[in-house]
């Protein structure tokens, strides 16, 4: 016969939160920011094929920090949700807020009821048009959504990076300036991150239905100047 010991709910939540935070802190960070023509997502990522930033739908992008297998499964679920919603109703009915809520519910459930909380922090970015505003939704490991006004930082050292970025970028800037500020914020004063170790995706209107694109190492180097 097994014995059950009483654990106060406060303690349980605290332990789970600490566990998730530790896992997330091990990974490298991501900066997402609004620039004058769209949204940019900059991740420090030495791998060229295991993406942290990706396309969800015509005007929606995804970024994930923390455990790769966990946020990649969330990315897949998001694409599935968006494609099936757009197919069932209309492409214009696919909304980032609804997707962020869907993620938040799942993360919240995993945090309280799962075997272990997911060690991830994710972001849903939406490029605005006449129907919807440009938005950045950050969703934390326990399901908290925050609607970030101009930029968001995910992953390990997010508070420091946030301060550095906010200090450098005081208003909405063009793509090259925002990319440079994001890269500097990720790197900090003591080091520089080479273009090959940056993963950059943008949402920008260029006359196509699908607005997401990845910037190549060459494009990133050119923009960084």
């Amino acid at each position: 016969m097994s014995n059950y010991f009483y654990v106060a709910p406060e303690q349980l939540i605290k332990d789970r939160a600490e566990f998730a935070q530790k896992g997330i802190a091990r990974g490298r960070s991501i900066v997402a920011a609004i620039y004058d023509k769209g949204v940019i997502l900059v991740a420090e990522n030495p791998s060229a094929s295991l993406n942290k930033v990706s396309e969800i739908y015509d005007r929606i992008a995804f970024a994930g920090a923390g455990k790769y297998n966990e946020f990649d499964r969330l990315r897949e679920a998001g694409i599935r949700w968006a494609d099936s919603t757009g197919f069932t109703y209309s492409r214009e009915d696919v909304d980032a807020r609804a997707l962020a809520n869907y993620y938040a519910q799942h993360l919240g459930d995993m945090f309280t009821e799962g075997q272990k909380p997911l060690e991830v922090e994710i972001l849903v970015a939406q490029l605005g048009n006449k129907l919807r505003p440009t938005k950045l939704y950050r969703i934390a490991y326990e399901g908290t959504i925050s609607d970030e006004p101009r930029f968001a930082v995910l992953g390990g050292d997010s508070e420091t990076i946030k301060t550095r970025f906010a200090h450098a970028e005081e208003s909405i800037e063009p793509l090259n300036v925002t990319l440079r500020n994001a890269t500097n914020a990720l790197a900090g004063p003591e080091r520089t991150i080479p273009a090959a170790e940056l993963e950059v995706g943008i949402l920008e209107d260029r006359g196509h239905r699908r607005t997401f694109s990845r910037l190549s190492d060459v494009q990133v180097s050119e923009l960084l100047g």
Partner: protein
């Protein structure tokens, strides 16, 4: 949009009232499709029967309009879905094979038949390729040209006489337009050029630049040239490809 309406308005219809053709050339594929939807009467004159399935692939449809549009939508969705999930696009052969079981399932369980035609630019092998299907979903690659719909016998006659392996883009566009003109001339369910309403068959190219549709003005001009020639010869081709 309709190619044929549902069976109760058009009984015993197995001809898929349409003509869409694809011609391979050095550096890509040309596709030409008529614009008419036919039941007992002309239901629409400006239907689009060729649509991009993705950036490098076009899907042309014939048969039941409702089923054909559904096939087109699910194909567009699936190609994009695969690309987003895996981070890279399907191969052209993969795209062609994807359609087979869908056509089979539809055509063997329903009188609302659908027969598509797929053409695209193969990014791995840097060639244009054409895939046609039979009613049971069998997928066959064609290395010269293909035609679907009720007007295809007339279009194929022209294509068989005019096709050469070394066609360039311009020659393929000219041959494609002529083949569709012939189909529109002889098949009641194929709409030829409509100079009164300024509605012309769709002409698209698939090459390393992807799916590109020719402007109405350019297509209109091509058909006007054929029409003038044909008027001068009193309505006969005159023993030559013209």
């Amino acid at each position: 949009m309709g190619l044929t309406l549902a069976p109760h308005t058009s009984p015993n219809d197995s001809a898929h009232a349409t003509t869409v053709i694809a011609v391979r050339y050095q550096g890509g594929v040309v596709m030409v499709g008529d614009r008419q939807a036919t039941g007992f009467y002309i239901a629409s004159r400006d239907v689009r029967k060729i649509e991009p399935a993705d950036h490098f692939t076009a899907l042309a449809i014939s048969g039941s309009a409702a089923r054909a549009i559904e096939l087109l939508k699910i194909t567009q969705l699936s190609f994009e879905h695969y690309e987003k999930m895996t981070g890279s696009a399907l191969s052209l052969e993969g795209k062609a094979n994807y359609l087979s079981p869908i056509i089979q399932r539809n055509n063997l369980t329903s009188p609302l038949l659908v027969v598509p035609l797929l053409a695209g630019w193969d990014e791995s092998n840097l060639v244009g390729r054409i895939f046609e299907y039979d009613g049971a979903g069998g997928c066959y690659e064609r290395f010269d040209f293909a035609a679907i719909g009720s007007g295809s016998p007339f279009a194929e006659g022209t294509l068989r006489l005019g096709f050469r392996a070394d066609l360039d883009r311009e020659a393929a566009l000219e041959l494609g337009a002529l083949a569709l003109y012939e189909a529109g001339d002889n098949d009641p369910s194929t709409g030829g050029p409509d100079f009164v309403r300024n509605i012309y068959p769709m002409m698209v190219t698939l090459n390393e630049q992807g799916f590109q549709e020719l402007s109405v003005d350019e297509v209109g001009e091509r058909f006007r040239v054929i029409n003038v020639r044909r008027t001068e010869s009193g309505g006969v081709a005159g023993g030559a490809l013209r």
